[in-house]
Symmetry: C2
Subunit: 303 residues, 2 copies
């Protein structure tokens, strides 16, 4: 299995305890129970780059909180502050680069949930206020009684492959030189494979067949499931949707390898290590298979 | 690629037209433009089992509607009736079994969107009413201005494999004799592979490694993305979560093949053809690979 960013939290989420108020009270009172210290929903780290945890007693009894899970026997919680929703990801990239994979995964889950709470303070069916329930893994409508559950938005992110090259694109807001895999939200009524084909067609005019799954990761800005795939393109022709992309280029294996290595003469600047676009590019380079019509062999350990 | 239920709608969703009011008006006025006839959000079919379409003029000018896409050059729309949300799937299974795969996919997308609209009549951030926008692929808050987009809930559905057997489970509400792949909602902060491992552990006490993606499909009850996987179990021991499952059993290849064939002496009754659980069981049978520790070879055409 390919290791991806924001995975490997290593917590026992203990779903069976979420509705058990007595068990949750015992956990909150346990020696070592800890609350994640945050700046809004941004992470705070100590001198070693580790997340900062406070004793749980510091929390007001009535405040909303999330039971993240058990780290061995240690119960971990996060607060639910009121935050500005929809903030872009870039601001926390420098601090993320300092954090361990495990800490990034724990914080990522908390960030997704906090943003989700802030987007669901009222019931979408009736408009009445909601209150936290299920230990922070749900909200309950105080009006009509509807239960609301955390939202995860599946996003397909993919390479089209043609004649030993893959397609990477550039959005206007990217840092200078950055190109990445194309991506888009999967819509109701689509399979992963259909969404991959639709997005490549919409954004770059590229038709693909034989879509293969490679890897997945959660993306906490604010709560996507990134699903990385590769498809085979019949042609290298590009018809760019300039509302979505500033540019799209085909890059061969040596070019992608140079980008991943950060070589000064690389044809583009690669995405950061915690982004699955980079994992996907690395998997394609490692597979060392040219773009045959019947496609990429599964990367080592991926299938 | 494995063909799954509720896929193959074959429509051009024409995303670039959704915010183009002039283009939408032209489409709605086009000869052949059609509105899906529904019973609430259930499908209606004619004597041949085909969906029923009405001329678009029958629609009130102010009614909410969804632009589903173009079938060749024919614009297809669906209404947004007020419906009871959260109704179980079983009621429409008989009619679904009459429908073509394409019609099931077109209706499925419409059903998911209709239910989503009914769950998002008010803004989750501020509680104000929302109105339809983006040609039915969004709602806009009349209070704070927040845009809301259709929700798709990723669900992992999986077989654990051990020593030539796979694990299937039974929920209390299933029809008599029915067993199926275990499944559960993917949560914020998880990869697909992590969710598969967590759900098998929670529901059946089974530890898996080497999780492999097999196929995906949309599931319109009300709007899931079903992600089918197989993982390798180190042991056949089962610890059942009786809140989730009534029973779970290991079945060998001959037993699964008998179930898929509907044999009277099969060890269980298989799920229906449009459910990806059946696709997954069929892929495992077709692969004809025993449960080696390094796992199932990709089914023909799947990888």
């Amino acid at each position: 299995m390919i290791r991806t960013g924001f995975t490997g939290a290593g917590l026992d989420r203990a779903d069976h305890l979420r509705l058990d108020e007595a068990a949750l009270a015992e956990l909150a009172g346990r020696e070592g129970a800890a609350m994640l210290r945050l700046d809004g929903h941004d992470p705070l780290v100590d001198d070693e780059g580790a997340l900062v945890w406070d004793a749980l007693a510091a929390l007001e009894a009535e405040a909303e909180r999330i039971f993240l899970g058990l780290a061995e026997e240690r119960p971990l919680f996060a607060p639910v502050p009121r935050v500005e929703i929809g903030r872009p990801a870039w601001g926390v990239f420098p601090i993320l680069s300092l954090m361990s994979a495990q800490d990034a995964a724990i914080w990522g889950a908390a960030r997704s949930l906090i943003e989700w709470h802030n987007r669901h303070l009222f019931c979408g069916r009736c408009g009445a206020p909601t209150r936290v329930y299920r230990a922070g893994w749900g909200r309950h409508c105080t009006g009509c009684g509807l239960d609301h559950f955390p939202r995860v938005d599946p996003v397909v992110i993919m390479l089209a492959e043609h004649d030993g090259h893959v397609l990477v694109g550039r959005q206007p807001q990217y840092p200078p030189g950055r190109y990445s895999a194309l991506a888009g939200f999967l819509e109701p009524g689509e399979s992963i494979e259909e969404a991959v084909a639709r997005e490549l067609k919409e954004e770059a005019g590229v038709d693909v067949t034989g879509v293969r799954y490679v890897a997945s990761q959660p993306w906490p800005f604010p709560g996507q499931l990134m699903i990385a795939c590769i498809g085979s393109a019949a042609s290298a022709d590009i018809v760019l949707d300039t509302n979505e992309l500033q540019d799209a280029i085909w890059v061969d294996r040596a070019g992608v390898a140079a980008a991943l290595a950060g070589a000064p003469d690389a044809p583009f600047a690669a995405p950061p290590p915690f982004a699955i676009a980079r994992t996907l590019l690395q998997a394609w380079v490692d597979a060392r298979v040219d773009g045959a019509a019947d496609g990429l062999a599964p990367p080592p350990g991926a299938a």
